[in-house]
Symmetry: C2
Subunit: 340 residues, 2 copies
């Protein structure tokens, strides 16, 4: 199967891509990764596994560790070193989610009550710190300074992106370029690192590292933009997060950025007031969704997502065809076609 | 000057120990460390240096990086590798303070408004994460896996200790043993690591590493107990933190633990209600201080602190006499004699 079959240009017949090939490809390895995750979230302090388990056992696709495993499979790496590192990546992600929920005062996560609601903000902050420390312990056990460099740098970039997003919150003038920069940091940096470390473990050259980094980074951006689209898509039902959360939090995501840029004066006034912190109700959310539909902002957010998805696919198109490459390509297609 | 001169048994005439020898010993090195701290807290996101600078420029004794430098001087290490690592230690500490203030809902820190009050809890959480990541970047740049192991392990232990303390909060039955365990984790682990890494950088044998670890750990416990005593000492004025904060937060610290264990039924009822969360006022605080005085609980907390101080001093008594050893001994004496 060649990469070109998978291109996502508008008008191409939908193939209903799924995550199934990726799940099959990584099933065995994820068994090992999940065992490490469960083992290493333990502590003599019972609140730690209780809280971490609430979020970790609570589902989530574990996209990032799966990407480490798929990337290793793409390179036909035969060892198991990357299992520990994939667990470290998931711990960084989990720590970020815990802190995000505190920062956003979220009520729901992955379709159930957020950990900060169940256990309180203080515990969520501190258990996040624990998981973050534990992730570095796992990396140190592996012993690759190169991996440590990639993941410590990604962690700093994620934190910068989160602060940047906080600064942009309720700022209606946030533009598309700045938003893409934020997404590149807060979401895509960890996707990129998760893929890149597989090349380090497999001892492949810098070009291979870079290709996997490019794949992960573009997939991460596509993934986030697809997420943003779902939150304002009038045609989809409830997702795991509370519908309209982004709007109520005054978050400038791409659908809003596009609708605001394309809006008339009255529309801009609405956005200014709503985003700047006027208390908003369900009618406001309905109006926001209508404005976004009028300007095709969900459709175009998805088109932007497909652009990055295509770049992700092209980044690995030079690798020899194998099951891993096919699964990684379909995972990208899945990321931008999903409606949940 | 021999170590025995410095013993701290009760009745020994006070010498008014100061931190001056430690400050002089480490002045040059701390110039380098401070420069690294300032350089590496920078970011393109202006909120990050603004918030980090509020806390970092806000003073604080920088005990932990000073201990790294003093330990290196004790071993007559001549390089500068440890400057970066000392900055990493301070970043871990700063991140912990930022998160602590969010967890405790503190109003004040180091005599001024806490960062979470000025910049908000979300920013304090996220900038803490940034500084924590940055500390690992600094360690990775140094490149010692041994140092990375020591500090990642210390970070996980600190986070566990913080969660443990959270679990113990408002639990009047928290005993002295459990409390010492919490202090060992949340405070002393980083003191121990700060000292131990100097031995790694100086390439000294495991016995030297262990001696410095013991010094730092015991000093850390002594330091924390002395801090706890100050919060209930009827004879001292305002300290940097709000007087009575521990009491209002329902924290079980050693003065309260001793007074509760020694109290009669009426006193225990008072502590139970106050610690378990009844709203407390200034009269309650005055009553608490009176009960603690009645049972000599501040005096005995200081005596416990001196016990650990003596162990710290003994841990380094086998090293050849030099200015660093004298300064490190006097720093211990200072830690347990200070009234602020």
């Amino acid at each position: 199967m060649s990469a070109s079959v998978h291109r996502l240009y508008p008008g191409e017949p939908a193939q209903a891509p799924t995550l199934t090939p990726m799940l099959s490809l990584t099933a065995d390895g994820m068994g090992g990764v999940n065992q490490i995750i469960l083992d290493r979230m333990q502590s003599k302090i019972p609140l730690i596994p209780a809280l971490a388990g609430h979020l970790i056992a609570g589902g989530g696709k574990r996209m990032r560790p799966m990407l480490t495993l798929a990337s290793a499979a793409l390179l036909e790496y035969e060892g198991v070193r990357h299992h520990k590192l994939a667990a470290a990546v998931e711990f960084i992600h989990t720590a970020t989610l815990l802190h995000d929920d505190v920062v956003d005062r979220s009520d729901m996560r992955r379709g159930k009550q957020a950990a900060n609601v169940v256990f309180g903000n203080p515990a969520a902050v501190l258990v996040g710190d624990f998981l973050f420390s534990r992730s570095f312990e796992l990396m140190v056990e592996d012993g690759s300074l190169k991996v440590l460099k990639i993941l410590s740098s990604a962690s700093a970039i994620i934190a910068e992106g989160e602060v940047d997003q906080l600064t942009a919150q309720r700022q209606v003038e946030t533009g598309e370029e700045r938003y893409l920069h934020i997404v590149g940091a807060k979401t895509a940096a960890l996707f990129a690192a998760a893929c890149r470390i597989a090349a380090v473990v497999a001892e492949r050259d810098p070009k291979v590292e870079q290709a996997l980094d490019d794949y992960g980074r573009n997939l991460g951006i596509a993934f986030q933009l697809a997420d943003d689209a779902i939150d304002y898509d009038s045609e989809v039902g409830e997702s795991g997060k509370d519908k309209g959360d982004d709007f109520r939090d005054g978050k400038m995501t791409l659908p809003v950025i596009l609708a605001y840029a394309r809006g008339n004066e009255a529309e801009r006034s609405f956005w200014q007031e709503a985003i700047r912190g006027r208390s908003v109700d369900d009618d406001d959310l309905a109006h926001a969704i209508a404005l976004i539909a009028r300007h095709d902002a969900v459709r175009d957010t998805r088109e932007r997502a497909r652009h990055f998805a295509n770049r992700a696919i092209d980044a690995i198109s030079g690798f020899p065809v194998n099951a891993a490459r096919d699964a990684m390509i379909e995972a990208v297609q899945f990321a931008v076609s999903r409606r949940f």
